[in-house]
Symmetry: C3
Subunit: 277 residues, 3 copies
């Protein structure tokens, strides 16, 4: 379920959050712009993360064909090594965006701010903390409820993990990204949507691997094949959409269509058993 | 054979029609330009369609590995649901290009027209109807002939479907796209080539699924793995070629090389049996 | 081992050579620019080559599922036909860059030269020949040594082929590309890195196939699945990095991260037996 939620958060932010924001923004504005240099760096990091998440699955498939065969301990080591690389890249990205090239992102921010009212830093942080707490509590509550209800509704675990939990868990990003799009602050919208996916892929996923060792139940980074296809397809469409620094409503529809298509896949997919733990 | 023709029309338009047009245009003009904003929207929709066409195959492979296993009725439902999404996206694209953002496409059109002689609307429609009819009759005739000749020549059904039928069936797009490229109206060339692929993927394919239910012989959207690779490779190369709004002869060669490589694959491929119906 | 070296040279030049150059250049310059039109054409050719190198593997997997099954002689013919297409494309690229559109590449060259000291042609050629000879001798020596040492260190053959031989064998490209990046001549850096990969994929690989027939031991172009994934991932990341004609240090980190992730995969991969000869 943990890995399904990682997949779900990545594709949910990239396709659902960004798609809805672009669509809603597009109903109000004919064209909206954002800083494509900042977006490009993030999208490339997301592609890198997608490659990192593909490799353990490729390893499993390739090792299965060798005489030595696949073994769980080697998969663990491979996953741990990749997690270290992703984690390292995350801190490089932080250094890049907060230190050496902050003008890329600041410029975007200033540009976005100039047309909106400004919150004081303390007000912003307070509201951020309160809303995060509320959403967090609600998520926990809802995930528990969902788990109980799941069987009676007949949804598979993977569908709940990839689609339902992701929608509920990202409600905060969701509402703020749409709000910013409606205010024509697309830089913030894009920053929230891509930034959240990036954080999940380069920070949360590696940290979960590290923690799994602390708790003595090592986890690997191997995803099921449909999850790999979903992440690659999402990042690829994001790359195409974000390439020109402009958005319009049809791009929102395109992102949402891909999300719905992937949702259909996970809805009909029977419970897997041989790869996911 | 129907699904092979869908694949063949998509890759034929993207690689062969566009490739030959760019190459022929490139022999006359050093560089040719087209409106890349209009092209971008179409290429993204084509990527979306490619994702839609991959998913049923991914579903089959993934379901095969689960204890419940793959079942044809679920594949039908999945395909029908994806067909609805693609069909819906098609109408959104129509609304986008004919209504909310027609300046993208009109601008391109006006720009293309300014250097060419103008046909009256009635003359254009008449010629369009006549040539479509002629090509249609010829196609039917040729496809029938091909089918009869096929065994004696020793071509596989998939090669005929993907390569031969597609070349013959797209003769109309073919000749007009090249003609427009020779007249330096690249916007029209790109519009014809990408537009035809888009129509096949987002309109014809879903309609065939819907009709198959009317006739009581439900069809699914599952393609063979080589077809999936062919469509993904074509759309990916198209995305790279169309990204800069400029063309030159080497880009024609590149598209044609990919077409020839895919043609070689389908030529040597033995008749499949386990996936395609 | 030959095919592993081809894979290794392609990904080594694209990821390691270019990544290190961009990173080193990025420590000195905040942003560096290169001619993206010239880079685009090369990257598209590299994508085309990647598609060519995928197809024999797709063929094997698809043919395995047909009743006729896969056969080595058909795989040879397929590989030979693809090699001819790649070889033909290579000469078209030469014609494009040296003849019909040399201003793309000359402009880049002139631009790169204007800030650096100029070597006389004879001095340049002499140094080029000497350094190539030195590197060549060293490579041969090192590869021999590596082969002997391999077993005692416990590295797999595929890891040595893809990673070790490629690093040693591309030492020349390596040092000159980094040197040029430090001198802010990014056009030369990009030209060396992408050009070397292109030469391997479109010229060296086909020539090896042709020669294998002369020596009576026909070779095919079929790569293992991890090699295919490595090449596709590298070319895709290169396409994203090279799209804007600008580089900064984080892009170097991103390329190197992908290289390290792929290195981890090949390090842990057990010796394959059923596909690679």
């Amino acid at each position: 379920m943990v890995k399904a939620s990682i997949t779900g958060s990545i594709i949910g932010n990239v396709l659902l959050v960004l798609g809805l924001s672009i669509l809603m923004g597009g109903t109000k504005y004919n064209e909206q712009r954002f800083n494509r240099t900042a977006a490009r760096t993030s999208v490339i990091s997301l592609s890198l993360a997608a490659i990192g998440l593909i490799i353990p699955t490729v390893f499993h498939l390739a090792a299965d064909r060798s005489p030595g065969g696949w073994s769980a301990p080697v998969e663990q080591k491979l996953s741990l090594a990749i997690a270290v690389v992703l984690f390292f890249t995350y801190f490089c990205m932080l250094g890049f965006s907060l230190w050496t090239h902050k003008h890329f992102f600041q410029g975007a921010h200033a540009h976005a701010e100039e047309r909106g009212r400004q919150w004081s830093r303390s007000k912003a942080i307070t509201i951020l903390l309160i809303s995060t707490a509320v959403v967090g509590v609600l998520s926990e509550f809802l995930v528990g409820t969902i788990e109980n209800v799941r069987d009676s509704v007949g949804l598979t675990e993977v569908f709940v993990g990839v689609i339902v939990v992701a929608i509920v868990g990202n409600a905060a990003e969701h509402s703020s990204a749409i709000l910013m799009a409606m205010k024509n602050k697309m830089d913030l919208t894009v920053g929230i949507a891509i930034g959240s996916s990036l954080q999940i892929a380069l920070f949360v996923a590696p940290v979960l691997i590290f923690l799994s060792y602390l708790f003595g139940r090592p986890m690997n980074l191997e995803f099921t094949m449909p999850e790999v296809v979903a992440v690659v397809a999402s990042v690829y469409i994001l790359f195409q959409i974000s390439g020109d620094g402009e958005t319009n409503w049809i791009e929102g529809i395109q992102l949402l269509s891909v999300y719905v298509i992937l949702g259909i896949l996970f809805f009909y997919l029977p419970e897997p058993q041989d790869i996911a733990p």
